[in-house]
């Protein structure tokens, strides 16, 4: 239907694509510069390690003894031993891995885990629901899989985010409609933002485990706490955003309190809500990851970070970090997409 009534959607699409490409160029350049900086930093970061390995391997290095090397500056060492620089890039356990090493690690721990993957067709049994052979599921089932760990982190994040957002909206409605609540709770809601509560997230987990709360809930509690206050603060602002004129109009319609809320305050608050949701979901993800850190959690991105740091597996740390970044990006993007859709339909799009 829409294609018939709108005769030239193709040109606008092309123009749109072109415009967005032009807009993306600076971003691409900046990202490329950052990657270049990373790649350039690999040599100096790993150089001393590589030089040490080269010396043990019997190669001639310019200050011959380790003591002299320790006293020589890094730049001097690199100028005197240009032959060692390639070794710094190919180092086994580097202090700083190359970007491509991290990408390879990510591939190996996701898609690369599949063994004998093929399409078997959908069958009747429960094990055939994906229509793929057993080996494919290793991509998400295997204990080494980053996707498996990412889901272990995402599930509590999403649950906690849902709880925190729900409670936050409820409290905001209470604050807007009850003066006592406003005066009592609001200053604390704002002050609590300045308290580094995230730092004790791991302890909260263990205490909850001791009390008998287990599974998703303890981690969700942290992420719900972290997403709770941004939502409260943003939502209160949003519910109060209708101006006196608009409220007066509702009064001339002799609208009831409930009608004012559903037809004016709630719709007016949505732009504020979405802005807080984006902050909230990012905070919730950070909360879950930190909650997994020193509690001996075996699964999850935080656990990968910690085990990587214990065993000096830098590539594993970087891969877990990149995965966490991807998760955050996808979550924020998803909320952004919903925001655009909803605000478009309400005619509130900026």
């Amino acid at each position: 239907m829409t294609a018939l009534t709108n005769p030239a959607p193709r040109r606008t699409l092309l123009a749109h694509l072109f415009a967005s490409l032009r807009g993306a160029l600076p971003v691409v350049v900046v990202v490329a510069a950052l990657l270049g900086l990373w790649l350039a930093a690999v040599a100096p970061m790993n150089f001393r390690l590589a030089l040490d390995a080269a010396m043990r391997g019997g190669e001639d290095v310019t200050p011959a003894t380790p003591d002299e090397q320790g006293e020589t500056g890094l730049v001097r060492l690199m100028i005197d031993n240009p032959g060692v620089i390639p070794a710094a890039y190919a180092f086994e356990r580097p202090r700083l891995p190359r970007p491509q090493d991290v990408v390879v690690e990510m591939y190996e721990n996701t898609i690369g885990l599949a063994r004998g993957c093929e399409f078997t067709g959908w069958g009747a049994g429960r094990e055939h629901w994906t229509g793929l052979s057993e080996g494919c599921l290793r991509v998400v089932n295997n204990r080494r899989s980053l996707l498996f760990h990412a889901w272990q982190t995402l599930a509590p994040t999403l649950l906690g985010f849902a709880i925190g957002t729900g409670l936050g909206i409820l409290l905001a409605v209470g604050i807007v409609h009850n003066r006592t609540m406003d005066l009592s709770v609001m200053p604390w809601a704002i002050a609590s933002q300045t308290i580094p509560i995230l730092a004790i997230a791991p302890m909260v987990i263990v205490v909850l485990n001791a009390v008998g709360v287990q599974g998703l809930l303890p981690k969700s509690l942290i992420s719900s706490y972290l997403s709770f206050f941004p939502v409260v603060v943003g939502m209160v602002k949003g519910l109060r955003s209708p101006r006196g004129m608009e409220l007066d109009l509702m009064r001339t319609y002799s609208a009831s309190g409930a009608q004012v809320f559903w037809k004016l305050r709630l719709p007016a608050s949505l732009p504020y809500l979405f802005a807080s949701l984006k902050i909230g979901i990012a905070a919730a993800l950070v909360g879950t990851i930190v909650a997994e850190l020193p509690t001996g959690a075996r699964f999850g991105l935080g656990a990968r970070l910690l085990s990587g740091s214990y065993y000096g597996q830098t590539v594993q740390i970087w891969a877990a970090l990149l995965m966490a970044a991807l998760c955050a990006a996808v979550l924020v993007w998803l909320i952004g997409a919903v925001e655009r859709r909803v605000l478009d339909r309400m005619g509130l799009a900026r």
């Binding site: 807009g23 600076p26 971003v27 691409v28 350049v29 900046v30 990202v31 950052l34 970061m45 202090r95 003066r179 006592t180 406003d182 005066l183 009592s184 709770v185 609001m186 200053p187 604390w188 002050a191 933002q193 300045t194 308290i195 580094p196 509560i197 995230l198 730092a199 004790i200 791991p202 302890m203 263990v206 205490v207 001791a210 009390v211 006196g244 409220l247 984006k278 990012a282 993800l285 950070v286 990851i289 930190v290 850190l293 020193p294 991105l301 935080g302 970070l305 910690l306 990587g308 740091s309 000096g312 830098t314 740390i317 877990a320 970090l321 966490a324 970044a325 955050a328 990006a329 924020v332």
Partner: protein, 316 residues
């Protein structure tokens, strides 16, 4: 403000019958709870008593009640915490009472002070200052190239939303267990939020104002220091305030990955391992006070430096 005033008027003119019914309901609830378990009844009575007091106080808000009501609310929570821990005899390992935490703070003052200096002053504060200086410097450097700005803003916004605290194990590996690695984590954490805010702030001056500078034949640097940096201050302080908490979180969490035998993160981790929960809570209290103080300090400097901004002029 107007609408709120009308609401109060309406509420008081509606008569007292409705609030009497409500009072009766609450009293009934407390009595029923007390009959089932006298301790629950007591807790409910404390809660509703304080809430009632706040309700009465907040009918006509004045300067005094605006201050008193949140204080009463906070004290009520503390009293409820204390009383319920004592009445229900909660295990120290699960939740110590506020009085136990206070005793712990009093007796372990020197340890807490040493931890505070190690984590907040050496780790968080130095990292915060270095990170902020780097970010503001980068923003000014980038400012001359609109192309770089257009690239850096989305990338910076994106990175600011990432779980950067995850870089802590890497940075601890690079910079060792001392406070330097904690400062490095803090630098990375605060850099992008402040950068993004400063870049946005440097664009905040009006075209008219910039034209005026041009008619004065002001050089780039004169324009920067006399007009654009002052105009950017509200934005910069916005970023600085957000980052005070981030700095503390970064410094404490980084200590979980390795630290000398002093520091708040170290103490939280080891005290927790030894099941000395009161000490953990004491550190949390110190962290909360330090976080609020740091925020307050930045807010105070902001009020002194941006006194001309509309957001500050309403305050006294």
């Amino acid at each position: 403000m107007n609408a709120g005033g009308n609401e109060v008027l309406r509420r008081t003119s509606r008569g007292t019958s409705k609030s009497l019914v409500r009072l009766g309901l609450i009293a009934g609830l407390v009595v029923i709870a007390a009959a089932l378990d006298w301790r629950a009844g007591l807790l409910l009575a404390i809660w509703f008593g304080a809430w009632g007091l706040n309700t009465v106080l907040s009918v006509r808000p004045t300067q005094v009640t605006r201050f008193a009501v949140p204080v009463i609310f906070g004290l009520t929570l503390l009293v409820l915490w204390q009383v319920s821990v004592r009445l229900y005899d909660v295990n120290q390992v699960i939740l110590p009472a506020p009085s136990d935490i206070w005793v712990e703070i009093r007796t372990n003052g020197p340890i807490l002070w040493a931890d505070f200096v190690q984590t907040v002053v050496k780790g968080a504060l130095s990292g915060y200052i270095i990170g902020a200086a780097l970010a503001i410097g980068t923003a000014i450097a980038v400012d001359r190239s609109p192309f770089l700005q257009r690239g850096l803003l989305p990338v910076g916004n994106f990175i600011a939303a990432l779980p950067i605290v995850g870089t802590a194990p890497i940075l601890v590996m690079w910079f060792g267990f001392g406070w330097q690695s904690k400062a490095a984590v803090v630098v990375v954490m605060v850099f992008f939020p402040i950068l993004v805010n400063t870049v946005a702030g440097l664009k905040a001056s009006d075209a008219m104002q910039r034209d005026l500078m041009r008619t004065y034949a002001a050089s780039y640097w004169q324009g920067l220091f006399r007009l654009r940096l002052p105009a950017a201050l509200p934005f910069i302080f916005n970023g600085l305030k957000v980052c005070t908490t981030l700095a503390l979180i970064g410094a404490i969490v980084a200590e979980f990955f390795g630290s000398p035998i002093v520091g708040m993160g170290f103490r939280i981790k080891t005290s927790f391992g030894a099941l000395e929960l009161a000490m953990v809570w004491a550190e949390i209290a110190v962290a909360a006070v330090a976080g609020s103080a740091l925020y307050g300090l930045v807010a105070w400097i902001e009020a002194r430096m941006t006194f001309w901004h509309p957001s500050q002029r309403g305050k006294t």
